[in-house]
Amino acid sequence: MSVTMAGVNVDVTTQARPLPAKEFREVVFDVKDLGVSYSGNQALQDVSLEIYRNFVTAFIGPSGCGKSTFIRCFNHMNDLIPSAKVEGTILYHGEDMYGPEVDAVEVRKRIGMVFQKPNPFPKSIYDNVAFGPRVLGMTDGLDERVERALQQSALWDEAKDRLKSSALSLSGGQQQRLCIARCLAVEPEVILMDEPASALDPIATTRIEDLMHELKKDYTIVVVTHNMQQAARVADMTAFFSVNRGEEGQRTGILVEYDATSKIFTQPSDKRTEDYVTGRFG
């Protein structure tokens, strides 16, 4: 199936595998009435959705719609910003992620993250991948673990002869795959990707997207992207976020529509989604 989107023909069939019926999906995250505010300014409001196991779920929307803020709720990264306040609940396999006893460090062991700009540590390729296992005390069979992670992120062939050289000597696309390997080395269940390809050239972007297809067999992937074609290419489910302007001009992100990717891009049920995916807005 091919749709015309913003004047570009986008093939949405390749990954639009028939999604399992709702009752056969395993819910990883159950988000209920989630809101985030920074110093009292509401950045995101009333978001409720479910994220399913071994799915790629994409968050799309215009700048300032809170999609990056939202993805950072899943691994407690917003905790690092003292002024940020998270309300509502996220259930992770039924357990409240923002419950009183929850330790952010425990959460981040299970839920890895890849950032917008490749951010390797200024260390060797090996030490980058080994950092996570080392801080978590998973040092038995470390060499094999590093190799496996690099293979999964399709970097092994390029990196195996230079494991001791600096990660900063890699190209941008390789650095991003290294960051994915670093995240895989601690065997998380979920991988959060915050615009993972926005700083990369088209070829490197394709490799990251191929990787996402590969990885969703073993992992649950949540990806923020401002590139609609990318969402159409990689995602099973897509959530469209938009911005509500308050009376005094304050901008609050809201979830407009959440559905199977093919539905979002071909027959969205909300006018705002349609305007956005057809390029009339944003």
Binding site: N75, M77, L80, P82, V105, E106, R108, K109, G112, M113, F115, K117, N119, P120, F121, P122, F131, G132, V135, L136, C179, R182, C183, V186
Partner: protein
């Protein structure tokens, strides 16, 4: 269009002269600095080089300038330097880590702490000397000993070390911290395994520059009782002198020979300080990271 082009042309000569004047001023400022330093160095070297010998390094001061040396002062300066590093680096880096990584800036006491440290860096060294006299020598009853001297110099250079360490810690990009946190590292692990190693070159450079500043100080040492005449090698809890104090004492003497001796001691002190500074610059160029 024509008017715009004309404007460009008419303005040019005036701008040119302002530019030339400014350039001349810059060269002049540079020359004043260089010539003053050059003249000072030349004078000291010409006067003192012949007395930089083994006697200077291996003999105690004496009333007879021909057999007088500065061994106690040189040793004390080395001891003070070691103590200074041992005290300032852990304290300064610890404070910097607290302020950069742990302190919540919304709390008034943290903001007060920050302002305080900035101000402390600007307090004249003699004031530290008075503090040392009142608090360390008399209050704590340490007496006029080398340890008290090292402690007061610690307080003096601590703000400089803190500020340098904070700069270095702040230069470690946040993306590195986030990457480490996202892998499940604890705050302790993030600080020890990523932030500190990344900031180390900057911290080392700042500490060495602070050390060389501390070693050149005279006033606070005079107040905590660095004696001008010490004929025995220093101990931690004994009377002491230091190179700058020794120089000060020799210059104050009426005999010409002692001034020559002072010049040679100045050469030694300058050699120590310039070596330290050169080492700091080398460290910075060699290990400084560009993120």
């Amino acid at each position: 269009m024509n008017a715009a082009a004309g404007n460009l042309r008419t303005k040019r000569p005036r701008g040119l002269w302002t530019g030339r004047l400014f350039y001349g001023f810059l060269v002049l400022s540079l020359l004043i600095g260089f010539l003053t330093l050059g003249a000072l160095l030349a004078q000291v070297f010409l006067e003192g080089y012949k007395w930089v010998d083994l006697v200077l390094f291996l003999e105690a001061p004496s009333a007879d300038p021909r057999i007088a040396g500065a061994e106690p002062a040189i040793l004390a300066t080395i001891y003070i330097g070691i103590l200074l590093l041992a005290f300032t680096v852990p304290l300064g880096v610890g404070t910097a880590i607290y302020l950069e990584e742990y302190a919540n800036r919304d709390r008034w006491y943290n903001r007060m702490l920050e302002v305080n440290i900035q101000n402390l860096a600007a307090v004249p060294s003699i004031v530290y000397g008075i503090l040392g006299l009142a608090f360390l020598v008399r209050g704590l009853g340490l007496g006029r000993v080398l340890l008290a001297g090292a402690m007061i110099l610690t307080l003096l250079v601590l703000p400089t070390v803190i500020i340098a360490a904070r700069e270095a810690i702040r230069a470690v990009p946040d993306s590195i911290r986030q990457a480490a946190y996202a892998l499940g590292a604890t705050k302790w692990q993030v600080v020890w395994r990523q932030v500190l190693p990344g900031a180390l070159p900057g911290i080392a450079t700042g500490s060495i520059l602070a050390l060389s500043r501390g070693l050149g100080e005279t006033a606070p040492l005079l107040l905590v009782g660095a004696l001008t005449y010490v004929s025995f090698n220093p101990t931690l809890l004994g009377d002491f002198t230091a190179l700058p104090v020794q120089i000060y004492q020799w210059i104050a003497r009426p005999q010409e020979e002692f001034r020559t001796l002072a010049a040679s001691a100045i050469i030694v002190l300058l050699a120590i300080l310039l070596t330290l500074n050169a080492f700091a610059i080398w460290l910075r160029n060699r290990y400084e990271r560009r993120w």
